[in-house]
Amino acid sequence: MTTVEYQVSSRPVPNPAKSLITKLHMGTGMVVGAIFAFGTYFWLRSGEDMTVAHNVNRVLLISMFMWSFGFLIGIGAFIGPFRWLIGKDLTDEEQLFLAGDGQGVSRYFRYCTDHKVVGIQYLVGVMVMLGAGGTLAMMIRTNLLSPGSKFVTPVIYNSLVGLHGITMIVAMIVVSTGPFGNFILPIMIGARDMAFPRLNALSWWVLFTAIPVLCSAWFLGGIPTGWTAYAPLSVQAGPGMNAFIATIIIFAISTAVAGANITATVVTMRAKGMKWNRVPIFVVGATMSVALAIPAFPTFMVSMIMTALDRTVNTTFFDANFGGSGWLYAHLFWIMGHPEVYVILIPGVAILMEIVPVFVRKPLFSYNAAILGFAGISGLSGLVWAHHMYMSGWLPLLNGPFMITTEMISVPTGLIFLVILGTLWRGKPWMKLPMLSVYAFLWNMLIGGITGVYLSDVPADNYLHGSMYVTAHFHYTLMGAALTGAIAGLAYWFPKMTGRMLHEKAGYTAFWFTQIGFQILFLGMFIAGAEGQPRRVADYAHTYATSDRISTIGAYLIGIGMITLLWAVIHSWRKGDVAPQNPWGAKTLEWTVPFPVPLENFDELPVITSDPYGYGRSEK
């Protein structure tokens, strides 16, 4: 791969050109978006009989997409494509302006192409989403504090569960590859920016437009379906469902764009000498995650477009009276849904693999096994989807084969454990904040993984499906493993992203409250689930009262932990201890650049002569 570069221009820093680009920002985006949305809404509404559900759905859906479209026009997302169209490509000055050159804080509110700005935008966005999803979780657990609780009505409870689910899934899909995949990854491979800086800005701002859309579900009567939005329930659901559908479609566009961008960056922009076996493991994991999302997520989009058409123009994709089938929905959903779990998990694990060598000062144990583990998981994840449909009545003959493919995933997962344990073996860990998460991950993923084996087993699933046991299982994997990894990444890269150290004591406090609360919450939930408590139900029998009360106490402990973490982040960001350039003594490239990281990261592009984990070997 050639990385020949040459400079085309060298001139004084230009004044921002008198181009339209300089006048647009998030505010203009919101204004144009609102005009488009409300304009469309009132215009379409006037010609429709708004007592008919189909018409309401149609008007709302179109208005939501117009919001997104209008916002992107208003923030200037289409200036680049339009200028390309008419043959007047953006000038270097304009590109420099888009990169946020010399704009201070205001660049965070613009269509900024600097990957570091996009990384921070993702970080803040993800924290907002996790905060919202977490608040919903607290409300769910409060309602489940005791049987017969009247904290919220059953209808609202359904919405809480569905919105908590989808908010967290969306947040978790981008929690690692968004902030760290954008901010850190290009520096880690020795690149000046992402492959497609404008697409980078696009992926963030498209995702941003989904947030108000999803919030609007709450004001449109909520969603009754849980995050899986099974048909035909989703087809019959009230107007809030439109918000769910629009969110998923918008989000799928964002992930496709981000996935192509990150993958192309890693494939084509690695520093000279960074052969594939010298790529830091986080980069490998993040790339595999987004590359897996590229083919996996569009089927979810297909299922949502079908749901939208069934709801708006009387198609019958999921109506068995007219040749449709609910199974079709389940297939399309889970063909995306299972790979998605690994889209979430792999980058979180990869962050931990990045961290362990640094804090035990040993090379990563069997880099190849780690790659094989990720690749095995990614490959198999496309062949297991029907384990979510064992009890649906669809081809019971295939339950056995799907059980086998699912259980085979334990093998590459085992490799991942092996790599982390092997790196820890006989090491002397430097027990800083990021390192704590490694141990939490090993414990949580072990429980999440093994309970997954039980659930993949058809006879056991016959009993356990649809119970709180399932809920506890996937929280152990997604929260206990993937979110724990992401929080480790935050503690680890916080100095590079903000120039300050994350408050150590508050970080420890947050860690212990969260992890202990987590075990209490979900071990209680495993018991309730194994005893038969159904998931997604607002009330429960007295039998489960003790387990549920224990779970709710655990949830509150997590709440305390997360608020502490939030405090630590905000406090440290504003006035934490100023971080040295390489506080952990790590060997990857992101620690060779100063803070604030210069616009194009490196003055001279680095040349790589060894793998990134050469701890304990003689320095060059």
């Binding site: 050639t2 990385t3 020949v4 570069e5 040459y6 400079q7 060298s10 001139r11 004084p12 820093v13 169209l85 008419i86 043959g87 007047k88 490509d89 270097d92 420099l96 050159d101 010399g102 000046r192 492959a195 497609f196 496709a256 764009v257 996935g259 192509a260 961008n261 993958t263 192309a264 084509t268 590359a291 590229i294 083919p295 997520f297 569009p298 089927t299 989009m301 297909v302 477009i305 079908m306 058409l309 069934d310 123009v313 009387n314 198609t315 019958t316 994709f317 068995a320 009276n321 007219f322 040749g323 449709g324 089938s325 199974w327 079709l328 399309l332 063909i335 210069p598 616009l599 194009e600």
Partner: protein
């Protein structure tokens, strides 16, 4: 960066940038391919399931098996014209106009098909069954391909000789656009084959 220093805008070589852009577009084609795969999968799934005998419309109103092929032909012509233009750059101008016209004509024809679907239920405005539902969705996906393809083709026509870009980079961009045109032609044919299986 302080205002009094020189700032260098770095660009990789046109060769490197061109390859990179093509890879990006090919990755997006993978995503679009998964989307089209989802449609074809769904078509055959519902057709073979024929739940409650509801696959075909009751009054036997359905599109002809050739309908998909008629919309695939302009896509194929566009791809062929563009691909030829890539190799014969002196006649690219004329060929790029052919590409654009083929795509616009195809888009019009696709719209015409959508406007005259035979299986709309008169009183509800709904679709008669799963076949009709699948057909309209596949036609919609084709329409999306036509519109995005037309945008790119229009750009290539307008830019030709106008845009001040490196010749090497522009050559790569033609190849990248060619990847898209080829893909939508393949997709059009795949959808045409799919909608040929009616009963």
């Amino acid at each position: 960066m302080s205002a009094d220093t020189q700032f260098h805008v770095h660009h990789d070589s046109p060769e490197v940038r061109g390859r990179r852009e093509r890879l990006g577009v090919r990755l997006l084609i993978v995503a679009d391919g998964a989307f089209v795969f989802g449609l074809i999968f769904s078509y055959f799934y519902l057709r073979n399931l024929d739940a409650n005998g509801g696959w075909l419309p009751k009054g036997a109103h359905y599109m002809s098996a050739l309908s998909g092929w008629w919309t695939a032909v302009p896509l194929a012509i566009a791809a062929l014209a563009h691909r030829t233009g890539e190799r014969r750059r002196d006649s690219f101008k004329a060929l790029s106009i052919i590409t654009l016209v083929a795509l616009l004509a195809g888009a019009y024809y696709q719209w015409h098909q959508l406007a005259h679907m035979p299986f709309i239920v008169k009183d509800t405005g709904g679709f008669e069954g799963a076949y009709a539902s699948m057909w309209v969705l596949i036609a919609g996906a084709n329409m999306f391909h036509y519109l995005l393809g037309s945008f790119i083709a229009l750009g290539l026509v307008l830019r030709n000789g106008r845009a001040k870009v490196d010749a090497v980079l522009e050559t790569w961009r033609l190849r990248t656009a060619g990847s898209w045109f080829t893909w939508i032609a393949i997709s059009g044919v795949a959808c045409a084959i799919t909608t040929s299986f009616i009963h």
